[in-house]
Amino acid sequence: MWKSLHIDPAKCTGCLQCEMACSYEHTGVINPAKSRIKIFDFEHEGRKVPYTCTQCTEAWCLNACPVDAIRVDLSTGAKVVDEDICVGCKVCTIACPFGTINYNQDTGKVQKCDLCGDNPACATACPTGAITYVNADWTGLDRMRQWAARANTAVAVE
């Protein structure tokens, strides 16, 4: 069973623990500038939104890569960049409709979320449950439950 990162922006406080955890997991340095998940602060609306790769099935980045440096990790479904093959051409960054694969000047390669080999550091670090790692088939389960709770089912009392 594959799992997906599930993001609930309403729970995000903007603390950036996820960005610290992601960058440390991948680079050994606490460095939000190199995080693969980003928190966007729409300050005038009071909204904070975590955003990262959703691991598309037909991944634009993977299809665009001219050297086949992006492969599917069959154990997780993550689209993973093989840094030994990546030539840093950045075509994938143009192809991705969501902007979630980016070039890293320090390595000369692109980087994106790889689900940390099935144990995403961001989800572990999130203190509020805004980022969770759930069954990929049921990312909508919580929201369905919320709406289900509002369904007006008459219950016979007598």
Binding site: T13, G14, C15, L16, Q17, M20, A21, S23, Y24, T27, G28, V29, I30, N31, P32, A33, K34, E43, H44, E45, G46, R47, K48, A125, P127, T128
Partner: protein
């Protein structure tokens, strides 16, 4: 490690930026942030210097836990000699600016001299340069932050700046970062303004790599986050209600200073409380509170993001204030509200927005307005002099005074002097509710006796954050003490003062201390930093920082008589509530406090005390 071991020295007179190694001997004795920056100031400046002259320095400093996943590890401190007080000034702030300084590779930035023209410092990792700020001068903190991000085409830059209050050298001007976090007290923003330094803009992409034992650090910081999450105050009260959770609590115990400390309870407290911020308004059906928010690395998230009522008279014609923004926090709601008898929560949020926008400390500002309203009611100040009728409770006067002070217009220039100078000027020095020239925060020294001693002995003038004995006297953390008695308070205050100095020096938020004791912080520091960071050592570090600050103030000319409260709190008993009939027992507590500290009856640290602390 924990430190980057690198200091950026900015000579504003010469216009140069140079890198130098951090003095690791001092880091070992003073840890970081508040402690380490004060050590630099003490070593490099004359304590008798005019705070607004080029001879004063201003230091922005992080701690070893700043920029790490230790919960709340995002804080930085601005240390300088304060123009409001003439004492050591040390104001700390959250937001994201402090962590960015670490990510850019620096521990500390020292500003010295005075630039011949307005400049801002731009730092991108190792690169640091002063840039022309003539186009930014006259702009608010909000406009400045936006303009810098736009000009550099980089929304990820973090900015700390002064608004018009700092430019005009309002004596309680603050330094504002990330739109609504502030190094708030003692007028550090006026010092920045005196140096013609408009802003500091940082971009750091190097990150923090110098953690002594990363495995241990991750393990222990994760454990300690759980302690915060499981605690009723840090896990529930603060995230849900923010610091405003205290408004009704403190009011009910008769310790909410009201109308310039004439009263100890405010009849409209519930209208300006956390609960009121959650209530839907009649006008638009929306609550003032939009959401809570965290500073960098904070797993508590006490910050308030609110939206003002668009139909309120203060903003009905001014859409720029309609969006979500910071506030109200307890101290601001008290100082702008109860201290002036104003129970209109939308007017308080308006005044709070202006304080953030132009960089003013809402505590000192609000408390000064309280003194003005009392002088007005006494007939000492007239409408002709101040431009508006200003009885206690006037939301219109509060709003107008905030605009005038932020912009440096008319009577606002006099409010900008703070209550001590203003009350002296009009012949009533006794009406300034301050210590060492700095206004009280939101706890009455008659109803919470330990806070009276906290205010009287605080090295930066009246302040609640130097030893928050409210935790013990009101909330029972770590042990419950009786708020109405003076017995045991000198020991309690000393213990809080020394421990708090370590929290501040580490780069974490003092609000963690609702759940953490120093024993929870110690393993986090020890995992991050090389060297011995035992409890014994940290206790010494805290006491050393406190005593060093004291020594600075003594050298600046302060004496025993400055460790005192205004006569009102010593002679006018509380009229209502549990403290009814009580005055502050400060005169009993001070001699005992000096004794507990190992100071002479004149409040001077003895040779033995100094030697014990290596001072």
């Amino acid at each position: 490690m924990g430190w980057n071991k690198k200091v950026l020295r900015v000579d504003l007179t010469a216009g140069t930026c140079t890198s130098e190694p951090l003095n690791m001997e001092w880091a070992n004795d003073y840890l970081g942030s508040r402690g380490l920056a004060t050590k630099y100031l003490v070593e490099e400046t004359d304590p008798t210097v005019d705070p607004l002259s080029p001879g004063n320095k201003m230091i922005m400093s992080t701690g070893p836990l700043t920029g790490t996943m230790a919960s709340t590890g995002g804080r930085y401190t601005v240390v300088t000699k304060g123009p409001l007080t003439g004492a050591i000034a040390c104001s700390n702030s959250g937001g994201f600016f402090g962590a960015e300084m670490k990510f850019a590779g620096w521990d500390m930035i020292i500003f010295e001299g005075r630039s011949p023209k307005p400049v801002y410092l731009f730092v991108e990792n190792d690169k640091a340069e002063l840039r022309d700020a003539s186009q930014l001068w006259g702009k608010t903190c909000w406009e400045t932050e936006e303009a810098i991000k736009r000009d550099h085409h980089d929304p990820q830059i973090r900015v700390s700046s002064i608004g018009r209050a700092g430019e005009n050298q309002v004596l309680f001007a603050c330094v504002v970062n990330d739109l609504h976090r502030a190094a708030g007290r003692s007028g550090v923003g006026a010092v920045m303004g005196s140096k013609n330094l408009k802003a500091v803009a940082l971009r750091g992409t190097k990150g923090v790599s110098g953690i002594r034992d990363f495995g241990e650090f991750l393990k222990v910081t994760t454990e300690k986050k759980k302690v915060l999450a499981d605690n009723a105050v840090t896990g529930q009260g603060l995230p849900t209600y923010g610091t405003q959770v205290l408004m009704n609590v403190i009011n009910e115990m008769g310790a909410l200073p009201t109308r310039n400390h004439k009263d100890v309870a405010f009849e409209d407290a519930s209208k300006i409380s956390a609960e009121a911020m959650h209530e839907k308004r009649e006008t638009d059906g929306k609550a003032q509170l939009v959401t809570n928010a965290a500073c960098f690395g904070c797993t508590i998230a006490c910050g308030r993001i609110s939206a003002i009522d668009k139909t309120h008279f203060t903003v009905v014609n001014n859409p720029k204030y309609w969006g979500a923004s910071g506030g109200l926090e307890y101290e601001a709601a008290w100082a702008l509200g109860a201290a002036n008898g104003v129970g209109d929560i939308e007017a308080l949020q308006y005044a709070n927005l202006l304080c953030n926008e132009d960089g003013m400390d809402p505590i000192s500002f609000g408390a000064t307005v309280g003194a003005v309203m009392e002088l007005y009611e006494m007939g000492v100040l007239t409408k002709e002099q101040i431009g508006i009728d200003a009885p206690f409770g006037s939301a219109e006067a509060l709003a107008r005074f905030t605009e005038m002070t932020a912009r440096g217009e008319g009577f606002g220039k006099e409010i900008g002097l703070g209550s001590k100078r203003l009350c002296e000027k009009y012949g009533h020095p006794e009406l300034s509710m301050s210590v060492k020239g700095q206004e009280f925060p939101a706890y009455d020294a008659r109803g919470i006796q330990g806070m009276g001693l906290t205010y009287a002995t605080s090295n930066r003038g009246a302040c609640h954050l130097r030893s928050y004995t409210v935790a013990s006297e009101v909330l029972g953390i770590p042990v419950k003490t009786d708020p109405l008695v003076t017995e045991g308070k000198p020991e309690l205050v000393k213990a809080f003062q020394d421990a708090t100095a370590v929290f501040d020096a580490a780069g974490i938020c003092v609000f963690t201390s609702f759940a953490w004791t120093l024993a929870d912080v110690q393993p986090q520091i020890a995992a991050a930093c090389e060297g011995d960071w035992s409890m014994d050592k940290l206790n010494d570090v805290g006491e050393r920082i406190w005593t060093m600050e004291r020594q600075y103030n003594l050298a600046a000319g302060f004496t025993r008589k400055d460790d005192d409260l205004p006569a009102r709190l010593k002679t006018e008993a509380a009229k209502t509530g549990p403290a009814k009939g009580l005055v502050s027992g400060i005169d009993r507590m001070i001699p005992e406090y000096y004794q507990v500290r190992g100071w002479t009856p004149e409040g001077v640290p003895t040779r033995e005390t100094l030697e014990r602390l290596g001072l």
